[in-house]
Symmetry: C2
Subunit: 196 residues, 2 copies
């Protein structure tokens, strides 16, 4: 109860704190951002900030979870469905683009995390698990004949997700609706630039 | 003369200084790295470091130039040749992959530069000019019928170079010779994953 009363302070709920923290992490780097900086950007004291979250690491974990949770949901669905692997791979690419477009700040943070803290290492480990799922899907799609067999599956997975992840560098809503970008990415991933 | 004598000190020539600086910039960020850090990592004094280079900004400019100079050479060749735009686009993609694989540390720094100093803004402006060349090539290739007309050329350019630039995240020599990765990227860019 105590907890929910504290978190309920108008204007400074945990979600607003998270948004402010992620903005600072993305602009100045996770290491270079202090709890004081986060409090200051919200116009609250550090002590008030600690009513909402217990540590900077907690903020990183929550932020990364917003990105990875959604990507892992997409992966789970792609792995679990009864469709051919080629269809599931295409679906996973589309859904990942939608997650990036909709949670751009959170995915940006996720993709820039490299560091040494426990929270950062957990994020990196979850990213690797996601990458392995994509590589496995490429392998299965090759085995069923839907994807060309002359590319190394891990390299193909890295390159296709290089295309997907590039959204953090350039995507803005005025550059296309998420659904339309998702179509373009999956079309290019499967059929390439060549006109047919 | 004075200058060349100073730069000639064995073991700490300008190129070794540059390599050490880029490693630190990429690991800790450009802002977070001081001339003292660079001197320390080379086991020399700050005053000796200033015999080789005049400022941290000069190091950034030199590093970015190693990456952009090579990419701009590739772009100039692709723009200038008499081949169809589709052939030239494919060539530019291949050559860019080779530049990334061969100058990975320098391109990594280039792609991470966002900042506010003059040196950083010049790097960003040169990157944008390169991106415009790619977009123009995609447009020309669409006009001549070699590239599908149903994708926005700027979006296509961003996605294809998302694939190229992803090398900074994962490329290592044991993951394939540069030539072979360049073939895979240009094959996927033009023909996609689909087996035919």
């Amino acid at each position: 109860m105590e907890n929910s009363r504290r978190r309920g302070r108008p204007g400074h709920d945990q979600s607003a704190v998270l948004t402010a923290a992620v903005r600072l992490f993305n602009t100045h780097g996770y290491d270079a951002t202090s709890m004081f900086d986060i409090a200051e950007s919200l116009g609250i004291t550090k002590s008030t900030l600690y009513h909402h979250v217990s540590s900077k690491e907690q903020l990183l974990t929550m932020a990364v979870d917003r990105a990875l949770g959604a990507l892992e949901d997409a992966a789970r669905e792609a792995v679990g469905s009864g469709d051919p692997a080629t269809v599931r791979l295409r679906l996973l690419i589309r859904r990942s683009v939608l997650v990036l477009a909709e949670r751009l700040e959170f995915v940006t943070l996720l993709l820039r995390v490299h560091g040494n803290t426990v929270a950062e290492q957990q994020a990196v480990a979850r990213r690797r698990a996601f990458d392995r799922i994509v590589t496995d899907l490429v392998k299965q799609a090759q085995a069923e004949g839907g994807v060309r067999a002359d590319v190394d599956p891990a390299t193909a997975a890295r390159l296709i997700f290089g295309m997907v992840n590039s959204l953090i560098e350039w995507y803005r809503p005025d550059r296309g609706a998420p659904e339309s970008i998702a179509d373009t990415v999956s079309d290019l991933a499967f059929d390439g630039l060549r006109s047919r």
